[in-house]
Amino acid sequence: MKVQIFIMALALASSTAHGDSSISLLWHPQANSYNSHSIFHTPDEYVAQPRYNSQLVAEITHYSTLQQLDISLLASVQQQSQSGGSPQSDADINELTAGYNRGEWEFAIGRKIHSWGVGYSFRPLDIIQQTNQQRTSRQSLIGQDGITADYYSDNSSVSLLLLAATRHNRYPDNPTIAGRYFITQGQHDLQLVGQYNHYSKTQVGAGGVSIINDNLALHGSMLYQQHYTQMINTLAEQGTIILSRQNPYQPQDHNNGIQAVIGLSYATDNSQSFIAEYSYDSTVYTQQQWQAIYTLATQQQALLNDPLTPKSATLGNIAWSALASQYATRPQHSLMLQWQYEGEQWQPRINTLLAIEDRSHMTTLTLQRQFDSINFDIGIRHFSGKTNSFYGESILNNTIYATFSSEF
């Protein structure tokens, strides 16, 4: 059905006489090796650990004017395949909006991608939809359904959003209102964002970028969340029982969350650039919570040697413990360091994400090259750290990947 939607989108784009259409293709093969010493390690049947996987994505964009309406479409179809599994296809309408302009105002209804954040490793101000900044491929997000009104002056803009309670949206059961004010003044870009819905209550944030001199820019942003939810491993919390018959994670409500990022970027006249960025997130697990989960997983691993305990029950519980890294995708305190060189042909980049409290890190080396019609990236990512550390206990040990992308 979804693939049919994509084909219909393709037909719509190609049949409209007036407008601008393009198709982009992306192929992202990846080879993985896993950390058999991780306390979260289980056989494949408990946590899938594909040696190879690949992603093939086609995206179509179309823009046209119908009567006085601006029609904008972004649709995608993708096929994911991995070793040991059959390929899976999916298609989506990432964006489809009808827009109307009146003076300095623009109104739109439909699905639209909203990206407001400031930052490289983490963007707290992406309150409408978050992008995982650590992903290695670059396909588009799926937008949020709603109505938007935007006002543009010479150096500022105001955006007002009413997002519907649809299953595609971040808050599928709650309509959301949100707003953003952006202003560029001299060497400073500033923005204020806010959001309210019945579930997450009020979220307000501010951020900006300042150009200090020809080489140096500073950026930062901070978000306050009146209410947020953490998925808590109840076994790790109580500390005595180490196996459960059902998934031990339960949502736990919290108030007054803070997410913040501050950083600098520096470029030299010999084609090098550096970025350093510190981020803080009080809504993810604390170091103590992580240690409790590590202790639980270590105890569960030890139980594998107990002949009286069914191995499958223990392995299933270790797999549940491993879910922690999906519920909390970053440590509370992180430091990102990046170096990049704009070479004549290749652009090498080294990026390290350091978990400050346990000194573990995820390091990615990328080589980029742009041909006439193809962009090519090849990269290797390595996770490292001592026992009971955020990246040291990652199930994934190394990933080698490539991305080929082009647009027509």
């Binding site: 982009s24 670059r138 560029t184 060497q187 006249d269 704009e342 004549e344 042909q345 742009q370």
Partner: protein
């Protein structure tokens, strides 16, 4: 009183000479951009050791007060834009949906810097003074251009002009560090385009095997609405029907 008159007598020729340098620079600029608001279709070819490495197409929209919007038309960069408002710069990548504020130095990264593509007039950015005037029928005039604002790509430019027509012939482009970055040479069209620069060749003096040719395919008067020069608008509307 006599002292003031003497000072005036000393300063006057210099001032007249400086004004003349500004006029020559304006005239030289007019061979590249002959209207205030234009759309320039540009083709860039990057050569390394005389082998063509890359070819790119850009549409450049230019407004007065140093406002430029560079839109990439090549497949590998399609939808990518650089917005320049005075000494402020933003990079807009189609999939990020947010404007990325960049420093003047970041703007220079890449083989053909955005500044080279988007800047068609030097008189708005540089003070000019005459370094030497060889005059005569086949002579040249050497101008020294010194940046009068922050954010420009080059701190100094040594510009050679034809002494009669003030057509630009050659320019040495120096970075903020004082390093000679590139040498530009200019080609003119024939017939209707005889008074128009149709190609600027930039010989890289840092990456010495590298040469960039910027060919101006068309330069047409074009009024682009103000909202296109707002970074928030460009980020929200990555596909512009221009």
């Amino acid at each position: 009183m006599y002292k003031s008159i003497a000072t005036l007598i000393l300063i006057l020729p210099i001032t007249v000479f400086a004004a003349s340098a500004e006029q020559m620079l304006k005239k030289a600029d007019s061979y590249r951009q002959n209207a205030d608001e234009v759309k320039v279709a540009t083709e860039i070819k990057l050569y390394k050791n005389n082998q063509l490495q890359k070819q790119r197409l850009y549409d450049v929209f230019i407004k007065p007060n140093r406002q430029s919007l560079v839109i990439s038309r090549s497949p590998s960069e399609k939808g990518q834009k650089v917005l320049m408002l005075d000494d402020r710069f933003w990079l807009l990548l189609p999939k990020t949906k947010r404007p990325i504020r960049i420093t003047p130095m970041q703007k220079l990264l890449g083989e053909a810097s955005s500044g080279d593509v988007a800047t068609m007039r030097w008189n708005e950015d540089y003070d000019a003074e005459v370094m030497s005037d060889n005059g005569g029928e086949s002579g040249t005039i050497e101008l020294l251009l010194t940046a009068k604002r922050r954010g420009v790509s080059y701190k100094k430019i040594h510009l050679s002009l034809d002494s009669n027509s003030h057509k630009p012939l050659r320019a040495e482009l120096y970075l903020l560090s004082g390093k000679l970055a590139k040498i530009a040479t200019f080609e003119f069209g024939t017939g209707n385009t005889a008074s128009q620069v149709t190609k600027m060749t930039l010989q890289d003096k840092i990456k010495k095997q590298q040469r960039t040719e910027i060919r101006y395919l068309s330069i047409t008067p074009y009024q682009l609405a103000n909202k296109y020069y707002n970074p928030a608008y460009l980020a929200k509307n990555p596909r512009l029907a221009l």
